[in-house]
Subunit: 154 residues, 2 copies
Amino acid sequence: MTAADRSRSEERAVEAIQREMTVFARRARASAGRMHPELSLVSYTLLGHLEERGGCRATDLAAHYALDKSTVSRQVAGLERAGLVERRPDPDDARVQVLDLTEAGRHILAQVTVSRRAAFRERLADWPEEDLVRFAAYLERYNAWPERPPGDGR
Amino acid sequence: MTAADRSRSEERAVEAIQREMTVFARRARASAGRMHPELSLVSYTLLGHLEERGGCRATDLAAHYALDKSTVSRQVAGLERAGLVERRPDPDDARVQVLDLTEAGRHILAQVTVSRRAAFRERLADWPEEDLVRFAAYLERYNAWPERPPGDGR
DNA sequence: GTCTTCAAGTTGTACTATACAACCAGAAAC
DNA sequence: GTTTCTGGTTGTATAGTACAACTTGAAGAC
């Protein structure tokens, strides 16, 4: 294979990755909404992050998801209203509110995770294990890229 | 490797795919907005589809992206107002409007494609060709799954 | 042929997610 | 002790979306 062949093939692959990731993104919210109307994609990811980290600050959520802090503030307010998260003032710093899941939050998160997992598994049912593992690794690698927060106009 | 090992490994991979796809989806719109403010992710994908197909009906767009037809109607109206698409009545069926890119639409789509491609390429710069090709194939395979339109509560 | 039903698209309405700007309250730096 | 920084909330505006009701034309049923 010549260098030109290689670069053409890479070029095609990059195009395809871009196109397919975009299609996926376009569809994700809609299908999440239909899969579990009780918990939007945003809420789901925020709760998931809280569970994974065992609680964190609103600012951490904003940074991780490249969201404005006002957005997080409102989302969290909604989740608190729904009784899914609770906040405690940080004893070390009175400005900080440590967020954590409530029991109800843990419960609903687990339910949604189950239903999402079932949907994903159905979709991936006939993939060989080797491909699943590799696909997961590619996605992780792809996402391990620093996102710039909103307003950071670089 | 035992069957139990295999299923655990698959389980982990499915979880990771779900999680990473979700993170990606959460970030995509925001980064698209920062990458090319003149063309939202939605508009970009719609224009891209028109280019790829060489024009199509609004209903086709709705089906392909799992959007409500009203959403597509408004999006297309905006694109038409912006002079990026034009519609002609279908000679075979007066209800149908065939959509297609204008020259301006083609032009801006090409520009945005260039800038998106550059961003993706930067991000994927140190991936070996083999991995790019495989990753692209996985994504295509993943997305080749029938989406259900909104309102189809199955 | 007329009538009913179906399909494509538009419009009214409402809601969610989002950003940006202005602000407030504590903490830290000097 | 000011000034500056950081975490968070609130006001306001916008985009994207869905659902329902409607219009118009096509296609079948009889």
